[in-house]
């Protein structure tokens, strides 16, 4: 068990203690709320803390346990990226434009997690509408990295990454259009899963670019992501992209042996396409060795260049995000952050022919990526070129000027998990990205879980 504050328990640990009646959901929720009050002023990870509702939900969970109900998420405190609609609770997308927005209904994922017995602690910081950040010209400041508060959390699920790493929530939700779950997971040293499109409903999640948007879990461990995904995944007839399929159980087979699993290393991605720092290169070498020790067959893999995926991803995101926001941009332009305007306004100038060319090229990239999975069961890479940079170094045109390694999985429509791959000499976390073919969430979670067990990175928490 992770030593220290109850907020540092994993979901799996807390779930076992709660089920054994050794930990009260009310005590756990109260302790986590106290930690938020004490620590979050340094991190700005929460936009809204729903203390009364949280304690009420925790009491309900406690009553349910005493009446014999069971479940791995019963009484577990979680928080939502503030683009997930929550009935009766303000949902702002970290934007001045939605500062008074109180939805009438829960997002489908919120409903499912509520049904599983989780306790909502509040709403988490994001980049404005999941793209415009980090920004300092909004009603709330950007979240800060708990490992070094001068540093960027990654985004756009910035509050989710910071809160989970700092023990201010045991689990959180994120959304990922070009890397928004996996970048904060990497920079904040947690686990984050971008699922296959259609696995997790996006109903009630404020969209950025609907043909690339996905919703997924973020937690301290891959195992916790699996537990959350078990509740979050499933068909939703109201999301046109949702896929009707038998409901899988991701958390059940995490310990099945990896012996013989074929792992492809996308070395050119981080050595050539996006030149990574020496510490990232060393981490990837160590990660490769760890996977070999776990019995995997590791070889070098090749895909089209990161720039090709990134070009397609950025064109689609810019065009679709502009289309989603056009009416509001024309009416209330000055209320958006400058970063949002820089990243989205250019979408107004994209020709339909360019957008369609990007969509057609996406299909080719999907086929090319799928071909790699004839030789490999999973692919690994670094999700970032470096550990978390300084918040002050972030540029409004990031994503155009500097390609994201993570956008590959969005464009290729495949699931991708980031787990903590290790730490730099200065104690900053580095991520390892594990990519699988469509619907292979169980496999990549299994690899991530056993990698975490083998490396022992989960014993270390940020000091605040």
């Amino acid at each position: 068990m992770t030593p220290g504050h109850p907020g540092f328990l994993t979901i799996a640990e807390a779930g076992r203690l709660i089920a054994a009646k050794k930990l009260s959901p009310v005590e756990l929720t109260r302790a986590t709320l106290q930690r938020i009050q004490a620590v979050d002023p340094k991190l700005n990870s929460y936009l809204l803390v729903t203390e009364k509702q949280a304690l009420s939900a925790a009491r309900a969970a406690e009553r349910a346990i005493l009446s014999g109900r069971k479940g791995p998420l019963l009484g577990i405190p979680v928080a939502y990226k503030d683009i997930y609609e929550t009935a009766g609770v303000r949902t702002t997308a970290h934007s001045r434009l939605l500062i008074d927005n109180v939805p009438k209904q829960d997002a489908e994922v919120v409903r499912r997690l509520h049904e599983a017995g989780t306790v909502m602690l509040g709403k988490l910081a994001t980049h404005e509408f999941a793209i415009g950040g980090p920004a300092f010209d909004l009603p709330w400041p950007p979240a800060r990295n708990p490992w070094d508060t001068r540093c960027f959390t990654g985004g756009s699920s910035s509050g989710s990454g910071a809160a989970v790493a700092a023990g201010l929530a045991l689990g959180a939700t994120g959304s990922d259009t070009g890397g928004s779950i996996r970048l904060p997971a990497a920079y904040c040293g947690i686990a984050g899963l971008k699922p296959t499109p259609g696995l997790v409903s996006r109903r009630g999640v404020i969209p950025l670019a609907p043909s690339l948007d996905t919703a997924g879990p973020m937690a301290w461990t891959a195992q916790d992501c699996a537990i959350l995904l078990d509740a979050m995944a499933g068909h939703d007839g109201a999301d046109p992209a949702s896929v009707a399929a038998p409901k899988p159980t991701y958390a059940r087979f995490l310990d099945a042996p990896l012996k013989g699993l074929r792992v492809g290393v996308l070395r050119r991605f981080y050595e050539h396409d996006v030149a990574a720092s020496p510490e990232v290169l060393q981490m990837m070498t160590r990660a490769t060795e760890t996977l070999k020790q776990l019995g995997c067959r590791v070889d070098e893999a090749s895909l089209p260049s990161v720039d090709d995926y990134n070009a397609v991803g950025r064109i689609i995101i810019s065009a679709e995000a502009y289309a989603m926001h056009e009416a509001m941009l024309k009416a209330r332009l000055s209320e958006y952050s400058r970063v949002f305007r820089v990243r989205v306004l250019a979408g107004a100038l994209i020709r339909a022919a360019d957008y369609i060319a990007a969509q057609r090229q996406r299909t080719d990239l999907i086929i090319a990526t799928e071909a790699a999975f004839k030789k490999f069961d999973v692919l690994i890479s670094s999700p970032t070129a470096s550990p978390a940079p300084l918040l002050s170094e972030q540029r409004p045109d990031d994503g155009f000027a500097r390609p994201f390694l993570t956008t590959v999985a969005n464009v290729a429509a495949v699931p991708s998990l980031v787990v903590c791959g290790g730490f730099t000499t200065t104690g900053m976390p580095l991520g390892l990205e594990i990519i699988g073919p469509a619907w292979s969430e169980a496999t990549i979670l299994r690899v991530g879980h056993q990698f975490e067990q083998a490396t022992g990175t989960r014993a270390r928490r940020p000091e605040l």
Binding site: G198, L199, S211, V243, A244, A245, P248, F253, A256, P257, L258, K259, G260, L261, R262, G295, R297, S302, P304, D308, A311, R314, I315, S318, L329, K330, L333, R341, V342, R343, L345, A346, A348, L349, A353, D354, A357, A358, R360, R362, T363, D364, L365, I366, I367, A368, E370, A371, F373, K374, D377, P396, F400, G436, P437, A438, W439, S440, E441, T443
Partner: protein
């Protein structure tokens, strides 16, 4: 991947940008126009990376569709776990036994995508 070489992004005068902005129905101040010029130059560079010279019959839908999952994740036998390669050629019976343990050899994640001529262009070249 055989992508055409990146063509230089043509510079755009403030007057040309103003025409595009007006056509888009936007009213921007000079600072916002300057930001847009910066972003557009980057985006135009990305657009130039994407092939536009496709055959008419290359694509029927301008979209993709994933094959539905076949119980993926519900059972460890559906999770790829191919035994480590044994030295020499495995006897036919051993391979058959392996398939029985690890599930069908066909991948669960196959897509209902039609390969086109342009898809061949997307193959890794490195």
């Amino acid at each position: 991947m055989s992508v055409p070489p990146v063509t230089p992004v043509p510079s755009m005068s403030p007057a040309e940008m103003q025409i595009l902005v007006s056509r888009a129905g936007l009213v921007l101040n000079p600072g916002q126009v300057a930001d847009l010029v910066l972003a557009w130059r980057q985006l135009a560079g990305l657009i130039s990376r994407v092939p536009h010279d496709r055959k008419l019959v290359d694509d029927m839908a301008i979209t993709f569709r994933l094959a539905p999952p076949a119980n993926a994740g519900s059972d460890p036998r559906s999770v790829p776990a191919i035994p480590a390669k044994a030295p020499g050629k495995a006897p036919r019976t051993a391979r058959a036994k392996t398939r029985a343990v690890t599930g069908p050899a066909k991948r669960v994640a196959g897509r209902t995508l039609v390969k086109t001529k342009s898809a061949k262009r997307a193959k890794p070249t490195r």
